[in-house]
């Protein structure tokens, strides 16, 4: 059983963090996107800054756009990105 989550970062958030992805052990007690965001922001510096503003943040779990309250579990692919600007 996989205990890790894969996290992807896109566009301005990817640039602020200086990375496009990582795989981490899902921390105990982290069961939602919102909790994962809090966990990542606690790293401080660019992490606190890039993920600071909920209005400028969109999230996906397993490639479906979901709200912050959405639950996550080990094995999931989670993504953080700014509001989309295609079309």
């Amino acid at each position: 059983m996989r205990l890790k989550v894969r996290i992807l970062y896109f566009a301005s958030i990817r640039e602020k963090l200086g990375r496009d992805s990582e795989e981490i052990d899902l921390p105990a007690g982290v069961a939602s996107i919102a909790a994962l965001r809090t966990h990542l922001r606690a790293r401080g510096g660019a992490w606190a800054d890039a993920l600071a503003e909920p209005k400028l943040l969109r999230t996906a779990v397993n490639q479906d756009m979901v709200p912050p309250a959405a639950s996550i579990k080990a094995g999931d692919e989670v993504a953080f990105f700014p509001p989309v600007t295609g079309g």
Partner: protein, 145 residues
Amino acid sequence: MKISVQREDFDLGAEVRAISGNPKIGAVASFIGLVRDVAMTLEHYPGMTERAITKIVDEAKSRWQVIDCAVIHRYGALQPNDQIVMVAVASGHRGDAFAACEFLMDYLKTQAPFWKKEQTPEGARWVEAKTADDEAAGRWTVPLR
């Protein structure tokens, strides 16, 4: 039904011909989005992009008669006047074709994971999402699941 996320340019005429073969089709509505006056780079989320567009197309098919359609969105480096995106919808009659085409574009703008970075004279900058785009998608009332 064609969904493609690609670097290469596309030919609307060829795409329209490819979805117009069924004799039940009496109308094809199409839209092309172009780069205005600033060169840009388009980033996307491979995998999720195709999945998001498929969901938007499925939603359009549940609301209107869509006999066939083609959605192509480019990524990578684009120059002024380059084509970015096209949507073409084939239906029995024009009402469904127009409505489904506009719906697909409105939802592509707010649901498909693309990001534009413009190369302005002052340097590169990420394009900010427009509230007007959310409002345009919102007028179709029911959010995508």
